[in-house]
């Protein structure tokens, strides 16, 4: 297990300095096998021996080719899927059900077309029993930093894809959980919008204590946002390499042209092509 002994940036937060601090998320030797029944049962190993730790305030990415089981892993962590081998601990607790405690943002914005921007964001608070008025008041405070202030009463069909994703993120973060899962959240956006979303997200999370686990196949996105990047191979998905990204956060999209970044990106791409080459 490699605990973060790298980069000073994540120590900025009120991270417990004891070396045995309980990680927000601890994934140990997690494997997942899909078994299809019927006359001739067959099984498919999707994940194999995944180890992963996220400390408070950390941003960690998993990159890998399509179908490597990244989304399956997020389904396990979020508690949507409870059938797996190994151990997943949330704040050191592996026994309590995780469903409903780990916000999970999808590639699709999944906004409700009949609700306004504001009411789409507040649904997460309403589900937790907040009254509509109180939920709205709470969400209104954040609309500005999410760049949605003028669109509170717009409907999802009236705003851009980038804005829709920001509404989805606001919805996911409003309840204030310590861990956030992002499954290719900007995958459906055009390159320009995606780039501005990266800068914005990096700033938004800069002094947040929230731990974020991002799954993506966009190498640049992973490097730009993360403290650490895990590379996954496919079939079965396993972590084949881990890279520490030591640029201070928040980062500006400008760094992508810096020599260090380019070097890091080249390394990551090499690992990625090696791993998918092996898997092919």
């Amino acid at each position: 297990m490699m605990r973060p002994q790298y980069s000073g940036t994540t120590d900025a937060g009120p991270q417990r300095d004891a070396p045995e601090a309980v990680p927000v998320l601890g994934v140990k030797a997690v494997s997942k096998r899909f078994v299809s029944g019927g006359m001739s049962p067959s099984s498919l190993d999707v994940l194999s021996g995944i180890d992963l730790d996220l400390a408070r305030g950390e941003f960690v990415s998993i990159v890998g080719p399509s179908g490597c089981g990244k989304s399956t892993l997020l389904n396990l962590i979020s508690g949507l899927d409870t059938d797996y081998d190994g151990e997943i601990n949330l704040n050191g607790d592996g026994a309590a059900p995780r469903i409903g405690r780990v916000p999970y943002m999808h590639q699709r914005d999944l906004l409700l077309p009949w609700r306004t921007v504001l009411d789409n964001a507040t649904i997460s608070l309403e589900i937790r029993g907040a009254g509509k008025r109180r939920a709205r008041e709470e969400a209104l405070v954040h609309l500005d930093e999410f760049g949605l202030a003028e669109f509170a009463s717009s409907y999802p069909s009236e705003i851009s894809g980038g804005m829709r994703q920001r509404v989805a993120l606001l919805r996911a973060t409003l309840p204030g959980a310590e861990l956030l899962l992002l499954d290719e959240p900007f995958g459906a956006l055009d390159a320009i919008t995606r780039s501005s979303m990266h800068t914005w997200l990096s700033q938004l999370l800069a002094d947040s204590e929230r731990a974020v686990l991002l799954v993506t196949h966009d190498v640049e996105e992973a490097l730009l946002l993360s403290d650490r990047v895990h590379v996954m191979s496919s079939r079965p998905g396993r972590i084949v390499s881990t890279l520490d990204v030591e640029f201070p956060r928040p980062r500006d999209a400008g760094i992508v042209t810096s020599p260090q970044f380019v070097e890091l990106k080249a390394r990551l791409l090499r690992v990625l092509s090696d791993s998918s080459g092996v898997a092919a």
Binding site: L80, R101, D109, L112, P113, I123, I127, P175
Partner: protein, 270 residues
């Protein structure tokens, strides 16, 4: 459509919105007019007996002459339709919700819902007369019996057509089964419910006429039933016209309610 997008020479004078909307009905008016005109000419040219097929002009005169009679009976029929339809909507929504919410309820209720549509109304309507009398009640039951079905089927489909990713999103936010049902499945099914209601209102009109045909003390169906054997064919047609206009208006009202309720449902997001 912007004026510039109009084909050249189509209409260069800008029309008010109402006029433009009415212009949209022009093809229907032209077609209807041609049909009525052809009918009139046919009947006169071949000297068809009035009791066999009255020309539109005679029917129009009959509508005017019997306007108080027609209004009186249309009102009876309209009440049967509205009460029966309302009943069907209430029962249909409740049944659909039960069916969609619980697998056990689905298994126990759905077969009977479908079975209810196998009952030949024509045979049960006379029995209803015996059971509840010749007043409005038997007609209301017939209307409700045939119009609740499209409401149930459509709404069940709507409640079950929820996107799996949406459901999972709700689950990760900690939603209970009931919250998923009320905050996601129910609003999501609204377009389906309204489709069902549009079909239901149309079959309601037919249901009321069938009910009255079998036995009643009033209503347009009863009026037709009474007029036909007396060779008052123009009156039969007059009643049909009134019934058709009523049906179209009821459909238009449900359509307007639909447009209003679904004004924000357009263009689903990803």
């Amino acid at each position: 459509m912007s004026p510039a997008a109009r084909p050249a020479g189509y209409l260069t004078v800008p029309l008010p919105a109402v006029a433009r909307r009415m212009l949209g009905w022009l093809p229907a008016v032209v077609l209807g007019g041609a049909g009525i005109g052809g009918w009139e000419i046919w009947v006169r040219a071949f000297d068809v007996q009035r009791w066999l097929l009255p020309p539109p002009s005679v029917i129009a005169r009959e509508i005017w002459d019997s306007r108080s009679l027609l209004t009186e009976h249309a009102w009876i029929t309209l009440q049967e339709i509205l009460i029966g339809f309302g009943l069907a909507a209430a029962i249909g929504v409740l049944l659909a919700m039960s069916i969609a919410y619980s697998r056990t309820l689905e298994r126990s209720i759905y077969p009977f819902v479908i079975g209810s549509q196998m009952i030949p109304i024509i045979t049960i309507a006379p029995l209803l007369l015996v059971w509840v009398g010749p007043q409005m009640t038997s007609k209301i039951i017939v209307v409700a019996l045939i119009s609740f079905f499209p409401i149930v089927v459509n709404l069940v489909d709507g409640l079950k057509s929820t996107d799996t990713d949406m459901v999972n999103m709700f689950r990760t936010l900690g939603a209970s089964r009931w919250q998923i049902f009320t905050k996601l499945q129910m609003p999501n099914s609204l377009p389906y419910l309204l489709s069902g209601l549009k079909i239901a209102i149309v079959v309601s009109v037919i249901g009321a006429v069938i009910g009255e045909w079998v036995g009643a003390t009033g209503g347009l169906g009863w009026l037709m039933r009474l007029s036909a054997p007396q060779f008052l064919t123009a009156r039969v047609f007059a009643a049909i016209v009134v019934l058709a206009v009523m049906g179209i208006m009821l459909f238009a009202i449900v359509g307007a309610v639909e447009r209003w309720l679904l004004r924000n449902y357009s263009r689903a997001s990803t």
